[in-house]
Amino acid sequence: MAIIVDEKTKLVVQGITGYQGMYHSQAMRDFGTQVVAGVRPGKAGERVNDIPVFDSVKDAVDGTGANTSCVFVPAPGCKDAAFEAIYAGIETVVIITEHLPVLDAIHIVSVARSRGVTVIGPNCPGIASPGRAKVGILPSMIFRKGNIGVVSKSGTLTYEIVNAISERKMGQSTCVGIGGDRVSGTNFIDVLDRFQADRQTKKIVLVGEIGGTSEEEAAEYIKNNVTKPVVAYIAGRTAPPGKRMGHAGAIIARGRGTAESKIRALEAAGVKVAKIPTDVPDLLK
């Protein structure tokens, strides 16, 4: 079954004429995603990688039946792009864009939730269901079809862990990179809820990092709602306090949001926590 993206995903790429939009629309298609349209105002009628380009998301939806969007539009135009997608009836909006102002994120997420639209990101690598579809920038070669659901706040660290899992001949149902910004459209709990309900998913891997309290909240949720085995890794156990590693989320504040507090909460919820990323596959056995 997988979650959020699959064979039924019909993707429109917003910002398809930019370098990343161009490169990744092809990579997503190579992965098996139905990339049906691109959007770039003023470029209607053009084609990128043979994908038709439309002036607006509405035209793309009317013309192709697109139901999912991948947003590469830079931060100043990102709120407009995300709202245009919601307005046009898109069901899932994946926002790759980084450096989105937090008030814009709050606004987008609030509207999306009230309309039942799934937003993933901002500042995320996207989502992949191996053998079915990929929406975002995750490198295709690391995936392997299987029954492990992966949810992560990180980008490249997600690749590291998925790769380690695949190298041990275990595969993934879906891998969701939810992004590490302070406000995200989809959080750990939203994804855990879906993995718990998904029949393909048998085990879950949760990748968190220092800062914020979403891992602690996830632990609480797991304790009460998740019956599938969960393995976790929390990055930043040895990070110096008070120094941020480039992520808005990775801040240590006064003993809260520390790796210790997260690991303690997860272990209390019955989650096996790996000390380093390469231990994750061992704990899945």
């Binding site: 997420v109 609030s110 995750l138 309290t213 801040i251 990323p277």
Partner: protein, 412 residues
């Protein structure tokens, strides 16, 4: 919603008060007058006087005052004043950074005592002189981001002034602003109702709430804090102190805030100009990785094998060999015993990284041993290039961490 966990929403507020910096950080103002500082986390913190200027612009009452950087600049006073150090750290009062003065000679004396004062590592370059308030009551009021609820949140307490974090939770109101509803007058009524104020003051506090919210939205602030919000003897509500942090991601629509200097070491400044995250630590392994999570995981792994990172550098997503080259050169300036290169290519291509690394080695004739682990898009090409240049190849993260740690512990 009244009550709730204080700690969640206090992330930013507490970070401002307790920011623990590394020993290498320079904490002086480079040139004055400036409005504030951008810290390592990209938070644009405004000095009190600038924050008060912004609050005044949005209609929040603040005491009359002015800022000086030399005692001689004091020509007249708006009455009895407080002379306050302008530094971006809490605990000014206890450190002798706030003094009363009743006339110009006293004000000059206070100013010369405070200017140049080192307050928990921050050198005072400016003082704010403002009319002294007849304080009857001190309230805490702020708006910040609530990550869990994905909204703005008001925090208020009748026990303001003191260290708000030691106030029991049940004495602090946590009131999220529903983003779909936005600010409505009832929000201000809930805040002033919680504070149990007489009608006239309640109305004034509610008005401050409305204006503070307006300020946060208009200026893209991620924190606006008034502590204390003072109730004076004549029943007026006035901002006694002010903290504002601007969301640096929103600077594209706030050109007026863009010129803030940063609180960085010279190497960190160079890195910032290249859009590379660069942090100096205590160990002797130089870590170059891409992405915050992977960088942290690399540090964790090194630690497992007894090594210690001396500097880490997060390339982020790049596909420009020049940037990789600059990063390598920067790393060599930090003079680590060994460099651990851990790249997982997605947007970043492995051969791009290899090209940049080789160019840097050639340009500088670098002799530092390099453990290279690269994985992802175009990894074969990249690995071959690095191997031919004599680097120590590693295939997995653990192996790379182990090799680098061993190398770093070698006795020379």
């Amino acid at each position: 919603m009244i009550g709730g966990r204080v700690d969640k929403a206090f992330d930013i507020a507490s970070e401002m008060r307790n920011a623990p910096y590394g020993k290498s950080v320079r904490r002086e103002c480079l040139n004055s007058p400036v409005w504030g500082y951008q810290d390592k986390s990209g938070h644009m913190k405004l000095f009190e006087y600038k924050a008060k200027e912004v609050m005044k612009r949005h209609g929040i009452p603040v005491p009359d005052g002015f800022v000086v950087s030399k005692p001689d600049e004091i020509k007249s006073l708006p009455g009895p004043v407080m002379v306050k150090a302008q530094v971006l750290i809490g605990g000014r009062g206890k450190a002798g950074g706030i003094k009363p003065a009743d006339n110009i000679p006293e004000a000059k004396k206070a100013a010369s005592a405070i200017l140049g004062l080192n307050i928990r590592g921050y050198i005072t370059k400016q003082v704010l002189l403002e009319r002294r308030l007849d304080v009857v009551k001190e309230i805490y009021l702020s708006i910040t981001i609530d990550r869990s609820r994905r909204s703005l949140i008001f925090m208020a307490s009748a026990a303001g002034g003191m260290d708000i974090e030691s106030v029991p939770e049940n004495q602090i109101l946590m009131l999220p602003v529903d983003p779909a509803i936005g600010y409505q007058p009832f929000v201000g009524r809930y805040v002033s109702g919680f504070l149990k104020l007489p009608p006239d003051q309640a109305e004034q506090v509610a008005d401050v709430c409305a204006k503070l919210h307006e300020l946060v939205v208009a200026e893209d602030a991620e924190l606006a804090e008034i502590n204390p919000l003072v109730i004076t003897k004549d029943g007026k509500v006035v901002a006694g102190d002010a903290k504002i942090t601007i969301d640096s991601d929103a600077l594209f629509r706030h050109k007026d805030f863009e010129s803030l200097p940063e609180d960085l070491t010279p190497l960190e400044q160079k890195a910032k100009a290249l859009d590379i995250a660069f942090v100096q630590l205590d160990g002797n392994i130089g870590v170059i990785a891409n992405g915050a999570g992977l960088t942290m995981a690399t540090l964790d792994s090194i630690n497992m094998y007894g090594g210690k990172a001396g500097v880490f550098l997060d390339l982020g997503g790049t596909d420009d060999p020049e940037k990789v080259k600059s990063a390598m050169l920067l790393m060599s300036e930090a003079n680590p015993r060994v460099i651990l290169l851990n790249i997982f290519g997605g947007i970043t291509k492995c051969d791009t990284v290899a090209k940049g690394v080789l160019e840097a080695i050639e340009a500088k004739r670098m002799r530092i041993p390099i453990v290279a682990r690269i994985k992802g898009v175009n990894e074969e090409a990249g690995r071959a290039m690095l191997k031919s240049a004599g680097m120590i190849p590693a295939y997995g993260l653990s192996e790379a961490a182990e090799l680098a740690s061993k190398e770093s512990l070698k006795v020379v």
